[in-house]
Amino acid sequence: MADKFVAKFARLVARLTGGLTLRSAGLLVALFAALLAAPYLVNDYLLTVLIIILYFAYTGQAWNIMMGFAGQLSLGHAIYVGLGGYLAASLFVRFDIGPWFGVLAAIPVAVVCGAIIGFLAFRFSVAGVYFAILTIAFAEFARIGFDHLDVVNASAGLFLPVGQYVHNDLWRLRGNPAMFYYVILAATVLIFILCRLLLKSRIGYFWLAIREDEQAARATGIDTFRYKMYAVMISAAATSFAGVFYAFFYNNLFPEQVFSIFRSIEIILGPIIGGVGTLFGPILGAFVLTGLAETLNSTLIALGVDLPGAKQVFYGVCLLFVIVALPEGVWPPLARRLGLAGDSR
């Protein structure tokens, strides 16, 4: 029994590390070590920026499962963030049920929501742009619905109790930024590993085939409906955890903010800039985008200039630059330059 488990685990590790060059393994380890050490090296402000970066790396990775792997463009991922956040926060505020149980409740709800959207779209052949519009519509339904839902305080917003915490309570996700940092770092590492395993398994190959040419994928025997459903449900489940994290990190939820289309767009900017369909793109994209935006922000503050919307303009410029100059995203050409071309996937 134990032998069997060990053998299975060894196979998993082999699959995970298979095809990884020494060079990229070294770089990954170095990056991970730097991220592990970060809370001891930077101040609270920078740590908060890092938390936001990792949050976007995580959600970008989750979105990438749908778009980057299976080729299904979702512009409404805020719905899964919002559902996860609202569910876990309500359980916490009303029944004093901790966020980890909240995650267990959020995941099935997000999966069902994703399954409904997926079923409607894939059964009735709503594809491409129309599928994207459908995902926006659902996020908007949720926004308007929650705006009128009194159990979660409707448009007045839901607040989590905030206090000074002497020590971190990981079980209840109450504590200082360093704790939140390690939670989102662990989540980002886990989803990275999950995505790599998925890509290196049967489901990943089938997703890529669907992304490349759905008709050819069907002719190759792939039940495209089923595999697209898997993509939506896995992506929704992963994103809902980000929602729980969001709620407990920010301690407030407003339907207008959480379900806003801008939230959905923010999620997808990272992977687009980093490289859709790559494993490292969402991480790199989150660092580049959030890093630069925060730099811009603090520079403006230091200069005493008040420019509301500067961040949005900056995002727009970044997106424009990447679409024109680096249509694959930043990571694939960078990977080739670093001599990691084989691992860009």
């Binding site: 699959r15 290196k200 398994s201 049967r202 190959y205 089938f206 890529l208 085939a209 490349e212 040419d213 008709q215 050819a216 994928a217 069907r218 002719a219 190759t220 025997g221 792939i222 039940d223 495209t224 369909g277």
Partner: protein, 241 residues
């Protein structure tokens, strides 16, 4: 003689146009069978009905003893029918090897086993040296052979080839003919070709069906069929007579 595929009175109309009109024929197991005909004869419509891309309006298609008409294309493939596309559709961004691995994963779960199978097929289709290239970088003849490899990876009993020779130079056509003939001889694979290129049909097929305006106007051995007056008239024009 056992028949792997039986078409019985298969018809398809697109509004007013009858694309395929009550076509019936049987494809013997292990044969190299060709469907030919001029442009617009209904060849591709017929092909798409067998492959599950279109459902016939009437008639039945029986594969290996079970009706397959009206099944979706992925189900038809899982039953054991592999196909290629007239206009090639490789998974462009994937490597040549990964394209074939996708096909091989239909019958197995293990990636390494699928890769082994894919590499064996790529050797047969003379693409092994290009296995790490992206499929989008291949030339047309290579892409056509890649499609055949991907279809074969799904382990079909019947391979449907939609104008797999179209656009190939004569030397490339001969290369493809040689590969297909070897496949048929060595593994007993049944092949149904839809073809325009007479050179390939004459060299390959043991039996030919000729379609014109959706109806079957002749069938038999290739050498006999090309001398059939009705075929000559529809194919080459009446003035040749």
């Amino acid at each position: 003689m056992t028949f792997l595929l039986t078409l019985d009175n298969v018809s398809k109309r697109f509004r007013g146009l009858v694309a395929v009109d009550a076509v019936s024929f049987e494809v013997p197991e292990g044969s190299l069978f060709a469907v030919i005909g001029p442009n617009g004869a209904g060849k591709t419509t017929l092909f798409n009905m067998i492959a599950g891309a279109l459902a016939p309006d009437a008639g039945s298609i029986v594969f290996a003893g079970a009706p397959i008409h009206g099944l979706p294309p992925d189900a038809v493939c899982r039953r054991g029918v592999g196909r290629t596309f007239q206009i090639v559709r490789p998974f462009a961004a994937l490597s040549v090897e990964d394209n074939v691995i996708v096909g091989a994963l239909l019958r197995r779960n293990d990636i390494d086993a699928a890769r082994e199978r894919a590499q064996a097929l790529l050797r047969r289709l003379e693409l092994y040296d290009k296995r790490n290239q992206a499929a989008s970088t291949l030339t047309l003849p290579d892409r056509k052979r890649l499609e055949v490899a991907r279809a074969l990876a799904t382990e079909p009993r019947l391979l449907l080839l939609d104008e797999v020779m179209a656009g190939l130079r004569p030397t490339e056509t001969d290369r493809m003919v040689a590969i297909l003939r070897t496949l048929n001889r060595e593994s007993g694979l049944t092949i149904l070709l839809i073809e325009h290129v007479m050179r390939a049909v004459m060299a390959l097929a043991s039996r030919v069906v000729v379609l014109d305006h959706g109806t079957m106007i002749a069938s038999g051995a290739p050498a006999d069929v090309v001398r059939d007056p009705a075929v000559v008239q529809s194919y080459l024009g009446a003035e040749v007579l």
